[in-house]
Symmetry: C2
Subunit: 404 residues, 2 copies
């Protein structure tokens, strides 16, 4: 260590990592701790907006924020590098180009696609998982439209988009496609009825875990705008140009296949020897890795138990952001003493966008919102995070809803 | 025939076909002739702007004009269909969905890629030949950039663009790429030096046929902006991901391969039994097909001899437009008598765009222009055609240079 201050390293600049960086600068005076943030890119991105990048309804740059624009670089050392391994015993992090030692570590490396061993899914399906992977989906769809228009006897299958999973991301993504495809059809002179959007979900309803009334609303709204749902249907296999689904092994030819059906912790977490349960680490109520009082695991790398239900909280941006508060507090306590805080989720509700001006959701008081009212609330939710992160200036620059 | 007026059918709504339609409505009163324009699309496009569509420097819609917006549909019957065959003896044209008989025919079906039997060129190289094929190039390049960014160990070869031919189209295209690639690099976070643009030309200099001083200027300007020229170099073979060039059979791996090295008449012309010389029909000085007094062949389907040099004129939009005047006059003479006019090219000079604000060329009085001055002239030339076609309104709507 270069100083005698305790060094806290945060791995990953997603929702959890960014908010933890910010909270740590508030919890600690400059002389009390050294704070290091390691990230693959020099930007943070809004994971919850990536389905819009993938559909092409927002520009890539709307979804990302330069880290140095919102993190106080006088207080936080930024290192742009890729994590290769965490050595818990030596308390070091191996990066592609460097090695760092830590006193405390915050693992917030985000999620990866979990394909549950479905043959071909890893190879042939796209994933809405980073700025780069989402932009690739957008460009792939447009490229197929361009190819279709330039072929002598094109197959309409090239225009078909199959989405695996009708959870939050899958549903929001097809909602954006419902808006985007008519625009692309116009741009490429392709009749709208030639483009099929099919969402395949193993559960009997869309948005499993959501209130049934809201999920029904979503399904009806999306069906009315041309999305076909195949519910109660498992994907058996994915090939380069088709998906095989259901017990009858129906083949659905498709030009674009996107998997939104499952996520797991960044593979670095398992590789570094943290025990995984269903792909993530079951952290203790103070958000520390079991057996490692110096390692906090946040966001999509962790399962945090909901004591009331006995089940883990579903992973959302809202939870990741709130975890940062608990983590920062507990880091201060770990270093300077006091009482560790247990994570307590303050559920502010959840709103899903359905594309265009439609949305639906539930707000903190349990009220259900539909349509434009829900859409406005969605924008408020999106902007609240930007406000927490970068104040009114960031809302003005990157916000969805510009109240100023 | 549905009327007893002579029916003139124009095949193709490119520069020659559009201007012929317009000139015929001026040459003939409504009761004197029936005018039919057959085209594959409901739009006309600026072939000379397609290299910009292919590079992505202008939007597709800037390059096209709805035919009905500029052709008087009270006078000209528009048929959107694809020509399958011309039966010269029966005086009929077979379309995909119809058959038409004519008294006089104007063949202005444009060009196709001529690959001179280079193995793999037809299959693996793109061509700047229509709105659809040009847009596909743009989308292909962007898709490669997106793929590169989303790969674990991407090869920089994916970013390499090889252009075959440094004639007018090839040179103008690499000029647009010189402008476009830095923008794409910024958009996709790719360092500019990872992208190679290589233009392979069999002749010892770029722009063969152009004034040497001007061609040198173009080569220097483009080289300075990152284009690599391989002159005196034949393309031997094209594979999916590489081009094999020169006597040493050097392999150039590339993600995008575009052929601009040769064009020939639309294949319908040869298929219908017109005799081809180097891929086109040698028309007589009145622009009629040899042996067929009722068939005029214009634009890129024809070679028109320059009596002064004994060589055919190089095919340009300017020539196509002027041919329409001669063709319309000679159609009137054919029907009502008089003296057939021989085509006489009024050379107004030629300006090549080199991308961005650079250009070079020669104007009608032989003066050479460079840089911004040439660029302005290029816009004037582009807009002059729009003016001829659709008057000031069209210049205002689609023009490059808006003098109003």
């Amino acid at each position: 260590m270069s100083t005698n201050k305790p060094r806290i390293i945060i791995l990953g600049a997603g929702y959890a990592g960014m908010m933890t960086s910010k909270r740590l600068t508030q919890q600690f005076a400059p002389e009390e701790a050294e704070i290091v943030l390691v990230n693959k890119h020099n930007y943070h991105y809004q994971t919850t907006w990536l389905h819009e990048v993938a559909a092409g309804t927002i520009d890539v740059n709307r979804s990302r924020i330069m880290i140095k624009d919102v993190v106080d670089t006088n207080r936080v050392t930024l290192i742009q590098d890729t994590v290769v391994n965490i050595n818990k015993e030596e308390k070091t992090v191996e990066l592609m180009n460097d090695q760092l030692s830590y006193d405390y570590l915050v693992v917030a490396l985000g999620f990866e696609k979990a394909t549950f061993g479905i043959p071909g899914m890893d190879k042939h399906a796209f994933s809405i998982q980073s700025v780069d992977s989402s932009r690739l989906i957008r460009d792939h769809i447009e490229y197929n439209f361009a190819k279709y228009k330039n072929m002598d006897n094109p197959s309409e299958d090239l225009l078909t988009i199959v989405v695996g999973g009708a959870g939050f991301t899958g549903t929001e993504f097809v909602g954006e496609l419902a808006e985007r495809i008519p625009v692309l059809c116009k741009k490429y002179d392709i009749p709208r009825n030639k483009v099929k959007i099919i969402d395949v979900e193993a559960m009997p309803n869309v948005l499993p875990g959501f209130d049934e009334e809201l999920a029904d609303y979503a399904q009806r709204s999306l069906t009315a705008r041309g999305i076909t749902f195949k519910l109660n249907t498992m994907i058996k296999e994915v090939k380069e140009d088709r998906v095989i689904v259901g017990e009858e092994e129906e083949e659905i030819p498709a030009g674009t296949i996107v998997w939104t059906g499952g996520v797991q912790a960044n593979h670095i977490v398992g590789k570094s020897g943290f025990e995984l349960t269903k792909g993530k680490v079951n952290v203790d109520p103070t958000l520390r890795a079991p057996g490692h009082e110096d390692v906090f695991i946040l966001g999509d790398c962790a399962w945090v138990m909901n004591k009331d239900t006995g089940k883990p909280y579903p992973p959302t941006a809202q939870i990741a952001i709130q975890e940062a508060d608990t983590c920062a507090h507990n880091l201060r306590v770990s270093i300077f003493g006091g009482t560790l805080e247990e994570f307590d989720f303050d559920d502010k509700g959840q709103v899903a966008s359905l594309g265009g001006s439609d949305a639906m959701g539930r707000v903190f008081d349990g009220r259900k919102l539909y349509g434009m009212q829900a859409k406005v609330m969605k924008h408020v939710v999106d902007d609240r995070y930007l406000y927490l992160l970068g104040g009114p200036k960031l809302v003005l620059k990157k916000g969805k809803f510009r109240p100023f």
